[in-house]
């Protein structure tokens, strides 16, 4: 059963060489059970930070994150650790950061199942089955170093889902992969999502890949800037009432431009202070 995840006004600040940097400045995001969500956005926008917070690797500076029934911010380190060993699968960027290079794929998956194996009530699949699921049939005895980049990435996915988690967090799964490799990874993610009903959140720079996942959430400047669904791009109204305009609008008007907001039941209209009465085509709808 997939786990839902909810981020409410999540802020995260970290320090680099004495300077405080706001990585996330109020993220509101709801991910439903069984969804496949792609987090996209420019470098430094906070995508990886958000996924690390969802994984419980870090704690938010403010706001609330819930995964299933768990309030991530309130869990102890031990509880978070148990959660990552059972209900949240994490695949970090770069397969080398997920796999033991000198151990076979089978042993990698087997090792990732140990926490779940020690926890009552969790049904575990045979590592070979898991490898089959991600398209690595018959490669259980192979070591990561002998695989292609795409195979390694799928092996990392296999390790991520070894404990049959409800939520799978994947960071840049198609990085440095060719088209075939990207397709294989996508197929593996879909298989995991459909056959295991696992909720999947993937961070990616690859917009096309993101689109294939169905729901694309754009993170800009530490906030959820937009969301694409079924081929359409939407602006997202944050809990504090803020909306991020598309970049081309911001670029056209310039920062600091003033608007008048007109709205009725179905329409919200932003009218520049110095501009003329807009045509109907210029209306923004939400």
């Amino acid at each position: 059963m997939g786990l839902a995840a909810v981020c409410a006004r999540v802020l995260h600040v970290y320090e680099i060489e004495g300077s405080r940097v706001m990585a996330l400045s109020g993220v509101d995001l709801t991910i439903h059970s069984g969804e496949m969500v792609a987090l996209v956005g420019p470098s430094g926008s906070g995508k990886s930070t958000l996924i690390a917070l969802l994984a419980g690797l870090m704690r938010p500076s403010a706001g609330r994150i819930t995964v299933g029934a768990y309030d991530i911010g309130r869990l102890s380190d031990a509880e978070l650790s148990r959660l990552r060993g059972t209900e949240i699968g994490v695949v970090l960027q770069g397969s080398a950061r997920n796999l033991l290079p000198y151990v076979s794929l089978y042993r990698n998956v087997w090792l990732a199942q140990r926490r779940a194996a020690a926890t009552q009530g969790i049904e575990l699949y045979d590592p070979e089955e898991i490898l089959d699921l991600v398209g690595l049939h018959g490669l259980g005895r192979a070591k990561p170093g002998r695989l292609t980049a795409g195979q390694r990435q799928r092996a990392a996915l296999a390790v991520g889902i070894a404990a049959s988690p409800g939520l799978l967090l994947v960071d840049e799964p198609t990085s440095q992969l060719d088209a075939a490799g990207r397709a294989d990874v996508l197929a593996a993610l879909r298989a995991v999502n459909t056959k295991r009903d696992t909720t999947i959140v993937a961070v990616t720079h690859d917009v096309d890949f993101g689109s294939e996942l169905g729901r694309v959430v754009t993170i800009r400047d530490g906030r959820v800037g937009a969301e694409g669904r079924d081929g359409q791009d939407f602006a997202v109204l944050a809990a504090d009432g803020t909306v991020q305009l598309p970049p081309e609008v911001v670029e056209g008007l310039g920062p600091g431009a003033l608007f008048l907001v007109d709205h009725d039941k179905f329409t919200v209209r932003l009218r520049p202070e110095s501009g003329e009465e807009p045509d109907d085509d210029d209306q923004e709808e939400s």
Partner: protein, 1050 residues
């Protein structure tokens, strides 16, 4: 989990092998301490046994006389007193039984005369248990049957017998007049063999000397049954207990001492306190125990730096291994395996090689010790102590690994994902502060409380070196940081980058500390070896006294002095020396021909402010009076006896000492009442004899205990032999009085001559009044404790020394070279004396001879020779008739000194230091290996950006060059500080007075220079390895990946 751990180790076998080797090195070095100590025990004990006089290798019980009646005469070999009773025999047997570790040997002796001989010589017939096993038969066989004897080969000519002959013996016993009378009927014996000792130095032959020796002539040998077939009234039982060759080990010393004490106790219970075991074994046991203690005191001190350095490198190796494994550890942590599995994946790869290394170290240590063992072919074997020591060292290694792993074992995923761990400055600073604090406490304890390097304090040198190395490298970091910034500002990329890289990498700092401690250990070991070598050399020089010492077999004192002066008339090469007899443990007094002291003796500045010539001048001031001389011819003396002296009760004689040969005694007729003239003809003084003394002999035992005789004159051919101005009491001296010695003869000036009083028990050679023709009390130079005792009543050894009882008489009374009391005047104090040591007295031999009562044999006569003494001197010495018993050289004595426990332990110090250096080189190599992985990509980037190869190589050269330079300087400082604090407490087994405060600088500089050279070569190799290759591959291929978590932290 086992397959995962196995592939982990297989994947990084090099690192595992390094950990195994380091663990094995730490364990083996610890196990080596008791093993090497055992080897030292064996070697030093074997050397001691080989060098020991035979008297130290056996115990002789008092001889027992069996038979009825008390034999008369003064035969020294026959014990006096009543014959042994059954309880005596039982006590003797019990005493012998107490000496369980020694092999008992009984000898039954009877005195016999050859009945067929015209001039029968009294000989000994000995039945010594098992003597056939210890002999070689030149002719015939072992006398096993009744009435069979063997004859020593050396006795064949004298006895006129050979194998196959028959000899007839008559048992004899000495009678009251000193003659011999039959003690049984004659009996014939068949001579069945002619024998020689299989090993003349075998202690088995020492006590009764059946083949002839210093005390006894050769004797016939037989068995006990054969003796029973020779009817005899008296026999003597000699019971000896001989130390078997392998029985003496340092561990056996307490048991042997206990056995000796028990045997002595048993003996005293029945025979009284005067019955004593005759043995030198306690002295041998003392030396063996000293070697053992010295070695055991030094070995841990030598091993500790090796263990410390190995632990440091072990820590470094594990940390460096972890640095490469952090992504992998993060991957494991990310899956949140159970704690046990996580610990196994994290630590087993390091711990298993350590455990294997412990086993390897324990097992390999005996083999390694065998390779370097001073004990020759003896094999080292593991025992409980070795296993415990190895276990402790192994547990230490495991703890070091766990400490190195501690951060990773508990780190979060995010912490593990950081490429570099947090610096942990607080932990490091705390650790360093602890080490420095501990070193300060150790130093304070050693300096303020005069502590010793025992127990946990054996680690003191290592701790002080480690603390000093830490402080110096910390200071160096500050300097290097500033220098790096300055170099960067000036555009000097090489030194700038190298310095900053160096100060920022904790692993490099640890390597600097390791190298510094290694260099320090080398310097410290070199200092120890040099100071000990200097001390031993001084000790050897002091013990021997000159470059060569000839031990003379037998010689009279005057004969020795004259012979040496004749053999070397120049006085540049040879000097006569005589040791005054002294009880065991008493400080010796050495009489030397001080006219040659400055030329012949090896003098040392350590002895004091006086040099040899100044000492000679003190010992031999001008004589107060000329010797009184007598020639051949008639002498006339006038004596008047005292009122209580009966006619003929006392006789007078003149003791005349010719320049060479035996003394001449010219005896007058017994003295009768009234002033009478007495005449005597002197013969043997054609060349002039020195008047050695006036001898008075009490002829008749009488109730009167005091006699006095006045000497009015002594003339020869009208010439006064004794001028009137010498007929005064001040010009004569009787004998000294002390607790040990009475004063039986004194002189008093009267109006008409010199009145001589004699009293008390008559000395063996009569009452002697000596003319004072030498300074008296005898000038002496003594070591401090003797000199202190001279100023006030006190004890020196067994001597109760006290100042002169008479007002105005200075000095102290000690046994002179003739064993009789002599008064000495300590003119100066020295720290030590050649041929004597730190306790003893030096006097002039000629003055000592002239102040002795009678001429006589010298005790331990010696001739000291210089190193360049010509062979002719030796030839001339032999021509004078001196028989040279032994030649001792500096080299010979030094080789014995090299077998002492501490000297052998210092070898281990050097070996351990060699291993320390190798481990340190391994540490440097490991840093290079890490730099190859981590630094080279950066250098490649610089090359691609335009930096020349020379610049890249310059950086690496500066980096490793700085590491080496800083480490060697820090090591030198560390060695200096450690030596300052602990050097004086180091148990080097040499008399402290002879130990220099500091080593010769070049003795330390030389090995450090070699080490520096080796390190520089290693550094240059490392620099080439890291920076010497052409850039290949895409620069920055290992650049940080976008989205990495390493800098993300709230």
């Amino acid at each position: 989990m086992i397959p995962i751990v196995v592939v982990q180790i297989a994947a990084r076998w090099g690192q595992a092998a390094a950990l195994l080797i380091l663990s094995a090195a730490a364990t083996a070095s610890a196990v080596a301490v008791p093993l090497f100590a055992a080897a030292v025990d064996q070697a030093s004990t074997a050397a001691e046994v080989a060098e020991s006089p035979r008297s130290e290798l056996l115990v002789s019980l008092p001889a027992l006389r069996a038979g009825a009646g008390q034999p008369a005469g003064d035969d020294d070999a026959v014990p006096t007193g009543p014959a042994a009773e059954p309880e005596d025999l039982a006590a003797m047997d019990q005493a012998r039984a107490e000496l369980m570790a020694l092999a008992p040997v009984t000898t039954v002796e009877i005195r016999v005369q050859r009945s067929a001989s015209e001039a029968p010589v009294v000989q000994r017939l000995l039945a010594r248990d098992g003597f056939c096993v210890h002999t070689v038969f030149v002719q015939g066989r072992c006398p096993v049957g009744n009435r069979e004897v063997a004859v020593p080969a050396g006795l064949v000519d004298e006895a006129g017998v050979a194998a196959g002959d028959t000899v007839s013996f008559v048992p004899v016993i000495q009678n009251d007049s000193g003659g011999w009378e039959p003690d049984g009927p004659p009996a014939s014996f068949a001579v069945v063999g002619v024998v020689e000792p299989a090993d003349p130095s075998d202690p088995y032959w020492y006590p009764q000397e059946p083949f002839g020796g210093e005390v006894y002539p050769a004797a016939f040998l037989t068995n006990r049954n054969a003796l029973q077939t020779l009817p005899h009234g008296h026999s003597t039982y000699h019971v000896d207990a001989i130390l078997p060759p392998d029985a003496l080990t340092p561990d056996a010393v307490p048991a042997l001492r206990a056995q000796l004490a028990a045997a002595q106790r048993r003996l005293a219970e029945v025979r009284g306190d005067t019955a004593e075991l005759s043995t030198g074994l306690p002295q041998l046991l003392e030396r063996v125990a000293t070697h053992r203690d010295d070695a055991r005191a030094l070995l841990p001190v030598a091993a500790t730096p090796l263990v410390v350095v190995t632990y440091l490198v072990l820590y470094l190796a594990v940390r460096q291994g972890l640095a490469g494994r952090r992504p992998e550890l993060a991957a494991v942590a990310l899956r949140s395996p159970p704690r046990g599995i996580r610990a196994v994946v994290f630590a087993a790869e390091s711990l298993l090689p350590i455990v294997a290394g412990i086993a390897v170290g324990v097992v390999a240590a005996p083999t390694l010790i065998d390779l370097v063992s001073p004990a020759g072919s003896a094999r080292a074997a593991l025992g409980i102590q070795e296993l415990i020591t190895g276990g402790v060292a192994g547990v230490g290694a495991l703890l070091v690994v766990l400490v190195a792993l501690r951060r990773e074992l508990s780190a979060s995923v995010v912490q593990l994902l950081r490429r570099l761990p947090r610096s942990g400055r607080a932990v490091v600073a705390t650790g360093e502060a602890l080490v420095v604090g501990l070193a300060a406490a150790v130093a304070a304890d050693l300096v303020m409380s005069d502590g010793e390097l025992t127990g946990v304090m054996v680690a003191a040198p290592a701790i002080v070196m480690l603390a000093t190395a830490l402080l110096v490298t910390r200071a160096a970091r500050v300097i290097l940081r500033a220098a790096g910034r300055r170099a960067k500002r000036r555009g000097r990329l090489g030194p700038g980058v190298a310095a900053l890289y160096l100060v920022r990498r904790p692993g490099t700092i640890v390597v600097m500390v390791v190298l510094a401690v290694s260099a320090g250990t080398l310097g410290y070991a070199a200092a120890s070896v040099d100071v000990a070598a200097q001390g031993r050399a001084d000790e050897v020089r002091r013990e021997l006294g000159s470059a060569r010492v000839l031990d003379i077999e037998r010689a009279g004192r005057t004969e020795l002095l004259t012979a040496v002066r004749e053999a070397d008339p120049t006085g540049k090469y040879a000097m006569a020396a005589v040791v005054a007899p002294a009880a065991a443990g008493d400080p010796p007094m050495l009489a030397v021909d001080s006219t040659r002291l400055g030329e012949v003796a090896l003098w040392s500045d350590e002895y004091g402010e006086l040099d040899a010539d100044e000492v000679a001048r003190l010992l031999r001031p001008p004589p107060p009076r000329e010797p009184l001389t007598v020639l051949d011819g008639e002498l006339t003396a006038e004596f008047t006896p005292g009122p209580y002296t009966d006619d003929g009760a006392v006789t007078a004689a003149l003791l005349l000492v010719p320049p060479a040969g035996d003394a001449v005694v010219a005896g007058f007729e017994p003295i009768t009442a009234g002033r009478q003239r007495y005449q005597v003809a002197v013969d043997g003084c054609a060349a002039g004899c020195r008047l050695g003394g006036l001898v008075f002999i009490r002829v008749v035992a009488a109730d009167v205990v005091l006699h006095d005789v006045t000497l009015h004159s002594l003339h020869q051919a009208g010439r006064p032999v004794i001028p009137d101005d010498r007929l005064v009491a001040e010009a004569w001296h009787g004998s000294e009085e002390s607790e040990q010695f009475t004063q039986p003869v004194t002189a008093e000036t009267t109006a008409d001559g010199l009145r001589v009083s004699i009293r008390g028990e008559q000395p063996e050679d009569g009452y002697v009044l000596r003319p004072l023709d030498v300074p008296y009390p005898l000038p002496a130079v003594a070591t401090a404790d003797i000199a202190d005792a001279a100023g006030a009543a006190g004890r020196v050894g067994s001597l109760d020394v006290r100042p002169a009882a008479e007002p105005g008489a200075d000095g102290m009374v000690v046994p002179g070279i003739d064993g009789r009391a002599v008064r000495i005047d300590v003119r100066s104090t020295v720290a030590a004396l050649p041929g004597i040591g730190v306790r003893g007295t030096l006097i002039d031999l000629e003055y000592a001879i002239r102040s002795a009562s009678w001429p006589g044999p010298a005790t331990a006569p010696q001739v000291w020779l210089t190193a360049d003494a010509p062979a002719e001197v030796l030839d001339r010495l032999r021509e004078t008739g001196l028989a040279i018993d032994d030649v001792r050289t500096l080299e010979g004595v030094r080789s014995v000194a090299e077998s002492t426990g501490s000297a052998l332990a210092l070898r281990f110090h050097l070996l351990a230091t060699g291993v320390v250096v190798l481990v340190a080189l391994g540490a440097l190599a490991s840093v290079v290996a890490v730099d190859r992985r981590t630094w080279r990509p950066g250098l490649r980037s610089l090359r691609v950006q335009g930096a020349s190869r020379r610049t890249a190589t310059s950086m690496a050269c500066w980096l490793y060059g700085t590491i080496v330079a800083t480490s060697v300087v820090a090591g030198l400082v560390a060695a200096g500080v450690a030596w300052l604090v602990t050097g004086a407490r180091l148990p080097l087994g040499v008399d402290e007075a002879l130990l220099a405060a500091w080593p010769e600088w070049y003795r330390v500089a030389e090995p450090l220079a070699w080490l520096t050279l080796v390190l520089l070569v290693a550094a240059a190799t490392g620099a080439w390895t890291v920076a010497g290759e052409r850039p290949r591959g895409r620069p920055g291929s290992r650049r940080g990946t976008e989205g990495e978590l390493q800098e993300v932290e709230s």
